[in-house]
């Protein structure tokens, strides 16, 4: 639809002066000044399906993704996005899918407010920080969506790099995991601990999606923004989700993150039963690729192996598709870089096993891939095994203590000379009083915080848990102590109450109750 120039100009002027929205039916991509050819940034009004209106700043050079282009509200709190292809905007099945995404599948909206089933305001708020989930549908000037903009910490500030001007750019994952990392100031890059935090955050959001049966379908370094400084991640571009029983989005994914089976069958017709399409299992390929990149700053499949001498394109297609080989595959070292220093064996045994399942057993056999819940669980367990490196110049600063008998930082080779203290939390078996089994382990360092999941057997470190600290470990006057700062009913090894503000000394073999309340955990101290 081409609208007459004079009318377009008049409409813009009216909107610009803040009068009632008169631009209904005006397609913003045709608004353009042919006289000055300058970037237009005037304010237009969109009408939502709810009947409300939202203003957005029209920009001729609006950021354009593969599917949509994006404008922002004047206060930059929301993005208003329209589809590049008018056919998409008019497709009723696509509209229907996006409508369910913004409502009954929306984990950022409480059930009471029309969001996902069982979602409380607390969990909705938790996921609002971790998803840029579409919140409204635009009816006019054409079908579109409204999303919140990313939290501020996912944009670079002026201090991020001394060689690049990154101020205001979004923190796509691959700024931090590839060779671009060297252009960032060290404070921006985070350390091993914060990158593990990023991985936990991402696996949790994906677990939440999969729990509802949703697949992201295009998880990639572009659609996951990360902030290694704070150790957090936000998942964006939610509108191409695969929703159960709804018309599937026509996305293939992003190079490097597409599951091998999807790439290998790309040339088959979309209706061919052998054609693999994005789903939960393909997300479960992209997820460990991202996690591996966060932890090792390299891609798990891009190694030295030459798959085809014919062309780069053919070689790449095989390297990431039909012939993909994990660079750390223990049975096939043909793609192993000669200078591989730190490997998955530097992680916990459980994480190492998950990576082998994802990239060896499950690489070409999707049903073998670990679930997002397994990733979340084992990443959290590994988080509790973190220990600071004794070398103040170690770039990674933290590592996962795999073997308490040989505490050596895998990144810089520094040996920890102090004793290693571990707390083993045990929960009482139901119906078998006095019989306990291990729930979790925690490696101790000075300043280690303790939370509800270290106190109660029925509380897990997830979106429902309270994030308040309940206690901490301190090295004080030559002794290791566990300080109670917020636990009711803590009992010392000798059976005496430990009120808030008091501490228990951590001696080898000591056993005490974190709390004598219902579901309280027993703690055993092990010193190696």
């Amino acid at each position: 639809m081409q609208i007459p120039q004079a009318a377009a100009k008049a409409q813009r002027k009216r909107s610009f002066h803040g009068e009632a929205s008169t631009n209904i039916g005006l397609c913003p991509i045709f608004v353009r000044c042919r006289i000055c050819h300058q970037n237009m940034s005037e304010i237009l009004t969109a009408v939502l399906e709810s009947g409300d209106t939202i203003e957005y700043v029209y920009d001729l050079n609006a950021p354009r993704g593969g599917m949509k282009h994006t404008f922002f509200t004047p206060d930059k709190r929301f993005a208003v996005q329209f589809f590049n292809d008018p056919k998409d905007a008019l497709n009723p099945r696509l509209q229907d899918r996006i409508r369910t995404i913004t409502t009954i599948y929306n984990p950022t909206l409480s059930e009471a407010n029309g969001g996902a089933l069982g979602n409380t305001e607390k969990t909705a708020e938790y996921f609002r920080q971790r998803f840029c989930w579409p919140v409204a549908i635009v009816r006019s000037p054409e079908f579109g969506i409204v999303c919140p903009t990313y939290p501020q910490n996912f944009f670079f500030d002026g201090e991020a790099s001394s060689v690049l001007n990154l101020k205001g750019k979004d923190k796509k994952s691959n700024w931090f995991t590839g060779k671009n990392r060297k252009y960032l100031n060290p404070a921006e890059r985070g350390d091993f601990r914060t990158m593990l935090g990023v991985a936990i955050g991402l696996s949790r959001t994906i677990r939440r999606m999969h729990q509802a049966g949703l697949a992201h379908s295009d998880l990639s370094c572009n659609n996951v923004l990360i902030d290694p400084k704070s150790g957090s991640a936000v998942v964006i571009d939610i509108d191409s989700l695969v929703v159960p029983n709804k018309y599937a989005p026509e996305v293939v994914g992003t190079r490097g993150y597409i599951a091998p089976e999807v790439l290998a069958t790309l040339d088959l017709n979309i209706s061919d039963p052998n054609r693999a399409l994005p789903n939960v299992l393909t997300d479960l390929h992209a997820l460990p690729v991202l996690i591996y990149e966060y932890l090792f700053c390299r891609h798990p499949l891009l190694g030295p192996k030459i798959y085809s001498a014919n062309s780069a394109e053919e070689d790449d297609h095989l390297a990431l598709g039909a012939k993909a080989t994990f660079i750390e595959n223990p049975h096939d070292t043909s793609n192993r870089p000669p200078d591989l220093d730190v490997t998955i064996s530097a992680l916990s045994e459980e994480l190492e096993r998950l990576f082998l399942r994802a990239f060896v057993d499950g690489l070409h056999n999707p049903s073998e891939r670990p679930t997002a819940m397994e990733w979340e669980r084992e990443l959290l367990a590994a988080w509790d095994k973190l220990i600071p490196c004794a070398n103040p110049r170690c770039e990674k600063k933290w590592f996962i203590l795999r073997d308490p008998k040989s505490p050596v930082c895998p990144f810089c080779g520094t040996k920890i000379t102090n004793n290693v203290i571990q707390l083993v939390f045990k929960s009482e078996l139901r119906g078998k009083k006095g019989i306990y089994r291990d729930k979790s382990e925690l490696t101790v360092f000075d300043g280690l915080p303790l939370y509800d999941w270290h106190v109660f057997s029925n509380i897990y470190n997830d979106e429902k848990a309270d994030s308040a600290m309940r206690g901490y470990v301190s090295y004080y006057n030559g002794r290791w102590i566990l300080v109670n700062s917020g636990i009711d009913g803590m009992i010392s090894p000798s059976g005496m109450p430990v009120p808030k503000g008091r501490a228990i000394e951590l001696k080898d073999g000591a056993v005490f109750l974190m709390t004598n309340r219902e579901n309280g955990l027993l703690c055993e101290v092990m010193i190696s």
Binding site: R32, R34, R64, N84, V163, L266, I306, A309, E313
Partner: protein
């Protein structure tokens, strides 16, 4: 850790003939500046794209060899003389042959180069020799932009099927052209091919630009 990242070679072939003098050449300089800053702000482009500039007036030359973005220095541009487009194509063919790594049994090759050609006139030399030369090397996409009313579209059609027409040589149109070039490079640096060897999908051209059928 060595990196196994392929390079995406990008060649800009820019007309610096007399008719480009004044506002147009200034707009081109500004365009290159913006292009660099845009690409340096995109992590995938920064990792993979390598840029070279070939200019042509009465003769043609490679002003900047294929260089990674962080090391790329904007070359001084001057407008004057005729339009040796044929010569520029021959230089392009030489550069692709010398600079772009081919895939072999022992070497990871570069991606197929992307070529953006911008001219506002008609070639004053023999273009057929140039066309022959580029037909003998492997190039991914060549996008030719006919800038303004005096550009010879038929001639560009001999070089590539992808010919865009830019209405005039204003700073605004030129800025849009370079914004689109940067969008195309970003898209190519992250896109995957539907099948090996299929042309890369580029974003739709800027508004007001016409694709010559």
């Amino acid at each position: 850790m060595s990196d196994y990242i392929r390079r995406l070679p990008v060649y800009l072939l820019l007309d610096c003939s007399g008719s480009m003098s004044g506002e147009p050449i200034e707009a081109v300089k500004q365009g290159i500046k913006t292009l660099l800053s845009e690409l340096r702000g995109d992590p995938q482009a920064l990792e993979t794209a390598f840029l070279s500039i070939i200019t042509f007036d009465s003769s043609a030359r490679q002003l900047m060899p294929l260089t990674e973005l962080m090391l790329f220095k904007e070359p001084p541009l001057q407008a004057g003389g005729a339009t040796a487009l044929g010569g520029a194509l021959k230089i392009l063919a030489d550069c692709v042959r010398n600079e772009v790594r081919t895939s072999t049994a022992t070497q990871k090759g570069d991606w197929k180069p992307l070529v953006f050609l911008m001219t506002d006139g008609a070639p004053t030399d023999n273009i057929d020799e140039g066309v022959d030369a580029i037909n003998n090397v492997s190039v991914g996409n060549i996008i030719a932009c006919a800038a303004g009313a005096n550009a010879n579209v038929n001639c560009l059609k001999k070089i590539t099927n992808n010919v865009l027409m830019m209405n005039n040589l204003t700073a605004g149109d030129m800025a849009q052209f370079f914004a689109w070039v940067s969008g195309s490079i970003k898209a190519s640096s992250r896109s995957i091919d539907a099948a090996p060897g299929a042309p890369v999908q580029l974003p739709p051209p800027p508004q007001g630009f016409v694709i010559v059928p």
